[in-house]
Symmetry: C2
Amino acid sequence: MCLDGVTNCVPVMSEGRSVLHRREVSGLTATIDDVARVAGVHRSTVSRALNPRTQVKLSPETTRRVQRAARELGYVPNAVARGLRTNESMSVGVVIPDLLNPIFPPIISGIDSILRPAGYTALVTDIQGGLDAYEVALASLRQRRVDGFILATAQLDEGESFHRLHEQGVRAVLVNRAAASSPFPVVHGDDAGGMREALDHLATLGHVRIAHLHGPEWLSTTEGRRAAFDEWSRRHPEVTVTGSYCGPLTPEGGQEIMSDLLDASPEAWSRPTAVVTGNDLMALGALRALRARGLHCPGDMSIVGFNDMPFADEFSPPLTTVRVPLRQLGIESARLLVQQLHDEGGGGMELTLPVTLMVRGSTAPPPG
Amino acid sequence: MCLDGVTNCVPVMSEGRSVLHRREVSGLTATIDDVARVAGVHRSTVSRALNPRTQVKLSPETTRRVQRAARELGYVPNAVARGLRTNESMSVGVVIPDLLNPIFPPIISGIDSILRPAGYTALVTDIQGGLDAYEVALASLRQRRVDGFILATAQLDEGESFHRLHEQGVRAVLVNRAAASSPFPVVHGDDAGGMREALDHLATLGHVRIAHLHGPEWLSTTEGRRAAFDEWSRRHPEVTVTGSYCGPLTPEGGQEIMSDLLDASPEAWSRPTAVVTGNDLMALGALRALRARGLHCPGDMSIVGFNDMPFADEFSPPLTTVRVPLRQLGIESARLLVQQLHDEGGGGMELTLPVTLMVRGSTAPPPG
DNA sequence: CTGTTAGCGCGTTCAA
DNA sequence: TTGAACGCGCTAACAG
């Protein structure tokens, strides 16, 4: 088709062959009108033939003719136009605190494995830890009319803000981090259970002086684990809790507070013989701090991480850590969101996924 | 405003106060018409007042009035409607082969740091290595009318396909991987230079039997490094190249071909004393294979990786590897794309970023 | 400087 | 079973 050598093709929009020509020249995709013309039917018929839901009301013959025309023209429905009409963008905003934290790729991957088959596209936004970046991201995604959100950025005190969003009709699911009182479903690992497993493991090894190097207090993960830590230590009076140290959930954070801890008690007899860290990145920093003092893990001190981020088993020593089913976290949160988007409820529920202690090389009996 | 207690509010769309009410009840955002009504001007005036480019042509007084009204109503321009009208979605499709490969987060992060300030949103799509998934992703993104692509998935033989896209008016930039003949700009690390540095380093250490464990042949990175490997070995006849082994760029791939290599020459005297791998993941697998045989790195064999992925320095031993400026790769590719989108040319150019050999613990003089 | 008009491409009423 | 008409929210042309 369009074999003639027309060169100065005025962009007449709705006149016979020229539309096809426009397409082949500039790459602009065919519209529904083009398909209608080629199939010899009306636009609305094309729309119906291409939509599985309305397709049943057409004669098979017409359906086939339309679909053949569409295929011939390489017709691709314009998602923007459809979105304007249907008020559904078939996209979901996924907001994460820091893409460079290795726990997020598996979560995102899990999310995607559910959203894509359901017809949704994930718009992943990394806010790099910034609070105002979070606001901007939210605004930008709402402006793009995403159908819902998966938020991995929740802070404990965001409940009120979430309630406002909820009242505005915003659909969302929280993943990994929860808010104190949230109208949105939450999917997270069993922080308390993981902490207990870690402590039981250390106690079994014979540790009696244990510290907790945790993350910022405004995170639900911190709170859950710290509460479990306190609770456990109350039930195990034979174990001395030598303090609870707070720092950012980064290698630098871990390194710094471990250094502080070592400064505070330079003598081995007073120092904790084991620490549980807020996540694996902090554990990594703690390892570095130890190394910097010429101390060894697990010889001089045992370390338990949290999350079992990718490659935690390749560290030196391989990290003993509480495995959180990261990919599954993504899967379940996406499922819950799709459920909401299909008006199948599920609001406000809390899904706690079981965790597993991975015992590896960074824990051993205490020195001496 | 809207203080009256109207309860059964029929959704009259364009009648006075009820629009406001609709908004407060259901969360539907105010439209440009609502703002126009409140500000007492025409829609187009609102549009102009809110668009920095056209704003100059308005009286400051009007501009202020409109902006105040917009703020009061919490007006957020509908990006979907705007996209339909302007035929610009202000979004860019970023297609990557595998999100779980740690080299991609830094690349994506770099891309984002350029796109976001330029007003674009990155639509990151992970094709999980699947070729048909790639086609689907491309179609889906085009259907969403992305303004351009950043492709990290290029295969050597894709030149023709890229030319077709280019002729259709598609804007794109290739990152990390190139195609044999591409109309699109390419940004990648200096594969050949990195390989030479790695080999020089090994030669200096005294290695005379070196192997290359490389990735799939259809990748430009593989080709570039292998060509440099061959070229270098031709110039260094004193060094025996003990073979070139191909496998997937994963830990499993590296583990398997290293096992094969060890099977092929079980005796230490015939075995290569050093290998350069296609990337750090393969290096990781090679390390595992070594360990599985009770061999040590670097004692029995030295290993050089490629990319310097995050945490490669935390492996055991810390990996000697060719650092590719991953984040910069992302930054430059995004820059080039934005340039194209602004019609500032830059098409077809090739940007080769310098790489650095990071000498760490996985290389040492050969045994014996 | 501002208002009017006219679609962007689609899905969804209504009628026939 | 199909066609006609309408409008989603916005911006770009053209007037005035």
